[in-house]
Symmetry: C7
Subunit: 94 residues, 7 copies
């Protein structure tokens, strides 16, 4: 299992088609990289200078939209994931 650190979240990457499950399609010619994913794990949040931990504002199971080119791709037990910082998440797809 992968446990993201800090304000990171791990999402499963959906193969992008003309019309995705969440219904999001890029407006322009940026179809080579997916922009939605389902959150499978969430970090404990950033620790501020005063030692306070700020929890991440999203949670496991949510579908999120994220900045194109954001995040790092990893493979774990044969499955592809994207590790993203919270700031790279633009919106929750409800």
């Amino acid at each position: 299992m992968l446990k993201p650190l800090g304000d990171r979240v791990i999402v499963t990457v959906e193969e992008q088609e003309e019309q995705t499950v969440g219904g999001i399609v890029l407006a322009s010619n940026a179809k080579e990289k997916p922009q939605t994913g389902k959150i499978v794990a969430v970090g404990a949040g950033t620790v501020t200078d005063s030692g306070k931990q700020l929890p991440v504002s999203v949670k496991e199971g949510q579908t999120v939209m994220f900045d194109k080119y954001a995040g790092s791709e990893v493979k774990f037990e044969g499955q592809s994931y994207l590790v993203l910082h919270e700031k790279d998440l633009m919106a929750i797809v409800d």
Copy 2:
């Protein structure tokens, strides 16, 4: 439905003509990108280092003017939107 995260707002993009609904036209040769839009959703605001949430100063339904080239374009259920950070909003068109 798209729920913007942090200090983001989502606006519907108006096709720009010589004279838009809000009456705003770019002074120079920057007509290839719209600069006004109607807010359809607003994030909960930024969380500061002390853990305080600063609400966004605009709200759903307002027409806003934003920096040229700002934001990320997305499509959701066939409709185009622009996701913008609050700092990219220049003025409310009343």
Copy 3:
């Protein structure tokens, strides 16, 4: 009406001549862009990390001198305006 957001001010742009109304002329060869204007609207100010709103130090009706190339030009109901951040204002012309 345009209501500037944050620490922004909106000024009417005066066409620059050899000797402007405010009496300010650029010393060198930078005459292609005006540097004075009259403030027509002022934002509510920046909100700091502690949630405090810092009011803008200028007000409607004042003539201000601003950094060359600063601001964004917009047209609203046939009139040209310049949207500036407070930090771009150099001095009040009294």
Copy 4:
């Protein structure tokens, strides 16, 4: 013995194969550098401006995934190590 300073951790670098012990393989063509390692030493943490020490969120013995190209390689008594800042650690492999 190497005692990392500040928020640094020292990891033993695993030679990367098609399928590593932790099961992590890079999705794309970045196989020339390993991305997992076992933590052998952890620094005391960053000291903030208020003089507070923020402990590092990982500990000795954990297997971590880190940003490609992050860290500095060193050799100590014939063994290779990677010195990383806490922020370069993406996730704990459990």
Copy 5:
């Protein structure tokens, strides 16, 4: 009259000769721009994030030495001035 804003000061620019009034001459080949001037107006100071106003540490009438190339030149009622940020002032010439 010009009233500088924030931490700005306005100085009258002295034409630089081999030996200026303040006695300061640049050591190297940087004689194309003056480096001393007399302060004619001082802003109210910067407002910090906590809303506190930090007064500028120089005052009207003082001769100051400033970083070469710093500031913006303006003309007002036929006279040349230089608008400088406090941080650009290196020393008071007494």
Copy 6:
């Protein structure tokens, strides 16, 4: 005697061989610059914005490992030294 200022430390630079005293050898082709040294003097530490002095976390006599290319080389009474910022120190060699 050289007394380092702020968070600086002064180290004696060891000529690097294939196997140094501390046992550290660079993994790759970076043998032209040493990476270990013995601390001979330590500054009083950084002063924070609140006026608090944060002492340096290392002390005289310790052998430290530092980032390649970090620091400034000086000679004092015929001996070579390296002046480093605390942040450039990676680990204590025990």
Copy 7:
């Protein structure tokens, strides 16, 4: 007289020879610029955001070693000086 502002110090520049008074010689080929000087004047220190003044940690009469290429050269009443920020001072030569 020159009174440095903020965290600046003014030093007299010593012509560098193979073996200077302070005994410091640059290790490599950087002999074109001196690296030691005697402090002749010290600013009142930086004012922090909370309005607190942080005094400079060096004083008049001390010989200091500073970063190569740091500071601005000025001439005052026929004498050359270097104006430096406190952060550019590496060590006190005792």
